[in-house]
Amino acid sequence: MKKAGITIENVHLAFGDTEVLKGVNLDIQPGEFFAFLGPSGSGKSTLLRAIAGFGPTPKGRILIGDRDVVGLDPWKRNVGMVFQSYALWPHMSVRDNVAFGLKERKVPSAQIKTKVDAALELVDLAHLADRMPNQLSGGQQQRIALARTVVVEPDVLLLDEPLSNLDASLRVHMRRELLRLQRQLGLTTIFVTHDQEEANTTCDRMAVLDGGVIQQVGSPLELYDRPENLFVANFLGTANILEGKVEVDGNERRFVTNTGDQLSLPEGSTGEGGNIVLRPQNISISRTQAADSLPGTVQHSEFLGSQIRYLVSAGGTEIVVDQSHRAGHDWIETGADVHLVANTQSAVVL
């Protein structure tokens, strides 16, 4: 199967007067598993559908391989799309559903049979070929929809929230399945989701969208550890954000919060903004004062099994702190005065 990259250049798209995509630029490598992540209404589906050729014609360029597909009819794009609702045709058997695209491509019928069988084998559902779609479970329908799409050997594979109609445990299973399939076929794949765990566990890189604008692109780890703005920091995992400013004193850089508490920043750190982002697991809590510690009071605590999560009022805000739990370890009661020590090696100033 040939691999094609996708390049999106300055794409604008509006429904009537409402602009939904506002200048999107993106480079997706051949064979990459890429995710669009963002809150509801951020334009993920709109962007994906624009790549497939559905919806209003966008301004800008969308290159698949080196062909600009803007304005091209959907049936001429050779882009495979799996719909959130699966869109299996209820009047056709599983086999006919999967064979549809091959028939449209006038593939000889002997070949159609082999290819359909292979595709069904790929998703482990060869035994269901003669069922009707309404006789399948949600997960099975999902896999048939996938088989129906990959059987035509599309240049790229687009998945719009393919797992959202499945229940939680099946979702975990299916996303591994999806990843296995993607690696096996080596297809350039875009996966739309608003579930960050789904994105983190599957994709090579992802783009976080908000309000029709791409906020940041990178691997899940990069985005989590090095968010470029507060939206990304907040959207991925839990972030504690303290307001203040950076003070430079010779070689030393310190972040001084609005409450006057000081956090010294590691050497070589950058960022001049008025916010510091601290992840809950990078803060330790103790009853005794230490250098650079922030005094606070425990408001609430939750036992989560491997961790204890404290909610501490400190630095002018409520700070979430996760302590890993070991047997015999002491649990600080609500109301106790504590001191927080932040590991500023992993902090980000924005």
């Binding site: 497939a52 009819d73 959907p74 049936w75 799309m81 609702s85 209820p90």
Partner: protein, 584 residues
Amino acid sequence: MSQNTSPPAATRAGLADRLPRWLVPNLTGVHLVAVFIALLLIGLLLVPVAQVMIVAFQDPATGAATLQNFVDFFRTSLFRESFWNSFYVSAMSVVVATVIALPLAYITTRFHFSGSILIQSLGFIPLIMPPFVGAVAMQLIFGRNGTVNLLLRDWFGFDIPFMEGLNGVILVQSIHYFPFILINLSASLRNIDRSMEEAAQNLGSHGLRLFRRIVFPLAMPGYIAGAALVFIKVFDDLGTPLLLNVNNMLAPQAFLRISSIGISDPMGYVISVILVVFSVLSLWASFLFMRGKDYATVQKGGGGMAKRTLKPAEKALAYATVIFILLLVLSPHIGLLLLSFGTIWSFAPLPDGYTFQNYVTMWEGSKTFIMNTVLYAGIAATLDVIIGTAIAYIVLRTQIFGRKGLDYLATAALAVPGVVLGIGYLRTFHAIDVPFTDKPMASWWVIIALALMIRRLPYALRACTAALQQVSHALEEAAESLGATKRRSIQKIVIPLMTGGILAGFVTSFATAAVELSATIMLVSSNNDAPLAYGIYLFMQTPSGRGAGAALGIVAVIVVAIGTIASQIIIERDKKLKSSGDAH
């Protein structure tokens, strides 16, 4: 539900209590009403139809059971021909109606098209005119010497036999009945999720192929429902072939046998059995086909239906198609209007001159017809909504044994063609005298009203059921918990809240009963008892009466139009009222 709570076991002592419950029913007012309605339906629907069936299988001389009548029927070449013609005309009407409805349904549901509302409303216009009324007007426009052919001959030197023999029946019927397909098909098309189409486009399909492989199969259940309805209606119809003077079809043959030879001739009954069997078969076939094929695919995560914007060339084509079809569909109305205002109209594209004389003549000659119509349709519609409300209540709100049966029985009237009901009434009631006289009931005008009542009951029942379904049961229970008896709560709460729906049912029943011909024509015994539809039929028999007939036809169209619009307005207003009631 107090009537259903069984008494505690300890008090079950008497003989009556040890008999099965259904032998000693705990009768209440509702039970009595149910029994009364059941008897009425049995007497006015079941017995007459059964009577027809039985006679068809009886030796006319001895009364012994026999199949001889059917053998005779199929041995007579005229009957074989009539059978084939009826079948052919019905099938072809479905085909032509499809050709008319399909583009309209597709264009209005799948594209942004400014004419959509126009089509969706104009598309229903044929239904407000009984097909036989337009038939004569269609002769004048599409007949051998009608407008279109005169022009064709002048300009191109050929003509098209639109109205010759069976063609005429097919054209008139398909123009009249295509809205059944349009309505059902549009609803189906609207229910197809756009992802169904997008998935196909994504896999390389588009245009006609996409329509043929995905869209149409998904819309099939709605299409079949509409097509089956058209088939039955055409198969059963008497008025149109009669007016077009096409007698070699089943319904006209049944009518002619009974009216010329008499009610003892078995052929009319054999034909009735065939008509009923076909009605039931096509209803059943469409039911079988639909089973398990609810393709309404608008679903979670889908985008509902997508409408596409037409390119300029496509738009021009769409408008041309739509305008052509609408002209065709409106031609009976246009023709009828011209005819009613025309002086003489023959061998000319348009009438020679225009006048109001036809309306004057019509009014002088048809006051009785109009009065009779108001009387009959009024009685029929009133009884329909009373019985409809009662049945709806019994089915939805009580546990009375056999309540579903009542619903089925009333609805079964759908499968009984008017001709068959007419013959059944003639046969059943000719032997029974009108109370206190020695005239047979079969020639009593009341029988016409009752026949109309039975024919319209299924529609009224649907309207009343829908109305009752919108009245929450809790409202009634609230009244009862405040001390109102069952009867008072029905009177004070249920009926007032159902008024809108009941009124809509009344108006529709009235309007459609006013133009019914096929049962009426069998039961009218003297011109003094005849309603409007029969009057039109009489006028149209003579060339000189056609103008006045058309004027009367216009009156009929106006009556039905006002009725349809009024019931729409009532339903809409009622909906608004109910929803504002919910909000507070």
